[in-house]
Symmetry: C2
Subunit: 127 residues, 2 copies
DNA sequence: TTTTTAAATGCAACATCGTTGCGTTTTATT
DNA sequence: AATAAAACGCAACGATGTTGCATTTAAAAA
């Protein structure tokens, strides 16, 4: 694995994502981060954090990419991003619903590696 | 409901989508359509077809928007886009898996209106 | 601590994607 | 055939994401 470094910008962005109740987009991080670092650097830091498996990407129903912190299971050293997300159509917040576990039949002839299950509608704050 | 008209470009694009095994992106439609109409017109036609409920939007795990024809249930006049999609990480094809029906528990305090369930991995052609 | 080297950054430039305004063309109704 | 509004092409624009390169900085080595 390639060597990566901890920089102030990287730490700040990771804190933002970790402290956020909802998943954040590049644009939202940029606004929250104003003068800390360049637009391009945010893209590169997000990519690095995804590669390092510290955060994960979520595509909302309208195609916006958002980022959320990963909840690792430290007991058995395995973790999955295959949990359910909720996307609010009013405030556009994206939340990880760790408690909801979908079940489905695996389609024949397909090799399923990842599951992206996003419910949309109104979140508790917008109902 | 607003009055809409059938034009050659609209019919051609709808045929493309209907005849395609996989969901198509704006860029793919543009390539297949070369000289038929303008880039902007494709955007407007796709919006119209979605509003008319003839096609539906799908966001792939990487945030690309694709379009597929709707399979109406003519018997009871209801239809849903809440079916499973498969996104191939190799050839980037997106397919509707009408036979797979997921089940899940509805999260408390949330109002679920739509379900977006996308499996990803390798499609039969890429295994 | 100082040196070193490769990762990380800023900046400029660019490509892609999607939208808007407006004058012109086309559909389909009168 | 005349008419009104939908649809179109084109130009321009804004947002989003990428790349190259010179400079800065983190962290390992001396």
């Amino acid at each position: 694995m390639k060597n990566t470094r901890n920089t102030t910008a990287k730490s700040a962005i990771l804190e933002l994502i970790k402290n956020s109740e909802v998943a954040l987009s590049h644009a939202e991080i940029q606004k929250l981060n104003q003068e800390l670092c360049d637009r391009v650097t945010i893209y590169r830091i997000l990519d690095r954090l995804v590669t390092e498996d510290v955060i994960h990407k979520i595509a909302t129903p309208d195609g916006t990419i958002k980022y959320a912190a990963c909840h690792h299971n430290h007991d058995n050293h395995e973790h999955t991003h295959n949990h359910v997300h909720f996307s609010c159509e009013k405030c556009h917040s994206v939340t990880c619903l760790d408690s909801v576990e979908p079940s489905y039949t695996i389609p024949k002839n397909y090799l399923v590696k990842e599951v992206n299950f996003t419910l949309s509608g109104l979140c508790p704050d917008c109902i």
